[in-house]
Symmetry: C2
Subunit: 212 residues, 2 copies
Amino acid sequence: MLTNKTKAQTKAGKTYQLILDAAAKLFSKQGYHGTSLKEIASNVGMQAGSLYYHFESKEVLMQEVLDKSIQLIYSTVQSEVAKLDKQAGFAELLTAAIHGHLIAILSYSDYTLASIRNYGQIPAAVHKASQFARDDYEQFWRGFIQQAERTGAIREGVDGHLLRLSVFGAMNWASVWFDSKENNAADVEKIAKFQANIFLNGCLPEGEKYGI
Amino acid sequence: MLTNKTKAQTKAGKTYQLILDAAAKLFSKQGYHGTSLKEIASNVGMQAGSLYYHFESKEVLMQEVLDKSIQLIYSTVQSEVAKLDKQAGFAELLTAAIHGHLIAILSYSDYTLASIRNYGQIPAAVHKASQFARDDYEQFWRGFIQQAERTGAIREGVDGHLLRLSVFGAMNWASVWFDSKENNAADVEKIAKFQANIFLNGCLPEGEKYGI
DNA sequence: GTTAGAATCTAATACACTTTAGAAAAATAA
DNA sequence: TTATTTTTCTAAAGTGTATTAGATTCTAAC
């Protein structure tokens, strides 16, 4: 053929995305095992069997959803961090990373919720496909926190490992209680600033310290 | 009959608990829809059909697991808080509550993981059974945080609502990465102290503040 | 308008699931 | 021991599942 369309322009390419979106939405709400191919197909106006023209199995479909989830998060975080000055310090970096992560998981919540909710209750083989991307993203956080530990941007005695896990927890949990119908982008920024503020400064009144 | 045994002593009572434990373990690992009654029954040496002598349906079985999960968490937190002096301040209270919550979700992780992982992907009717207990527990946290806001134990401008949700996120997320085979009770206490420390004091070096 | 290829549907296979009813076995009481 | 109750099993019903193969329809190039 003479016309040379990119994947996103072909009919199959568009259908592929529609299916992926529907799958992410349903996986996030009902879990992997609680969602049937018939239901996914129905959401895009197809019959269950027709999905197999686009995906080779339900497991692969889930793999794609998980993979896209990580890609969305990491790229959003990177674009937020890229806005910073070159000489931005740890506090600015942490704030930007939290903001990016929250934008991703609260705006593309179908994908990220599918990832968060189903992680741990899907076959191990399904995980592997997105493991590299997940490691990459984790390494990014490890990296700038470790540097903060070395340069003294973090208080002596604060375990960087536990800090990262706690920040992740606070952020990811937001995808459970945040209601994207009631809230908007401004609210996301408010949450991001709050969490960065708390993890940097704590919640005690200025000048007060407890137990250190 | 003359003998008047308590429920836990009867054969049925013991079997009931065994089934509940097996169900919690499997629900936590594979999710509600990913776990079959056959699998649960097999874990206690029974046939799937026999479960119906003890439970009227799979949904009710899940309800019991969710209910026990909340009971375990709340009672553990209460017993930790009860150890405090009467005039204990907000910082002590928060630390004790975090410790109790973490003990519960990391020690009885089958039940609590089943609750956390399946929340949001099970039929609404299943939720309702444990909603009251959940509300009670949430009210406990709301209560002492609101009081801290009123008395100035929390810095001006810190939203108590977001603080509670962030603390919950950091704690509950621990159930995802914490490995009870590798770690022990001492590690749980370490995590609790770390999280209380971070939420109270932040991670910046002493004397430093950012953005306030 | 014809034709090749892309996209979807239909219908069936094979299997797993929850739940039920009644038989069987085990435990307890008389 | 015998009778009764409690507990478990067996077998089946009915429904839903992922997946496949082949027929069918739609799309786009010529």
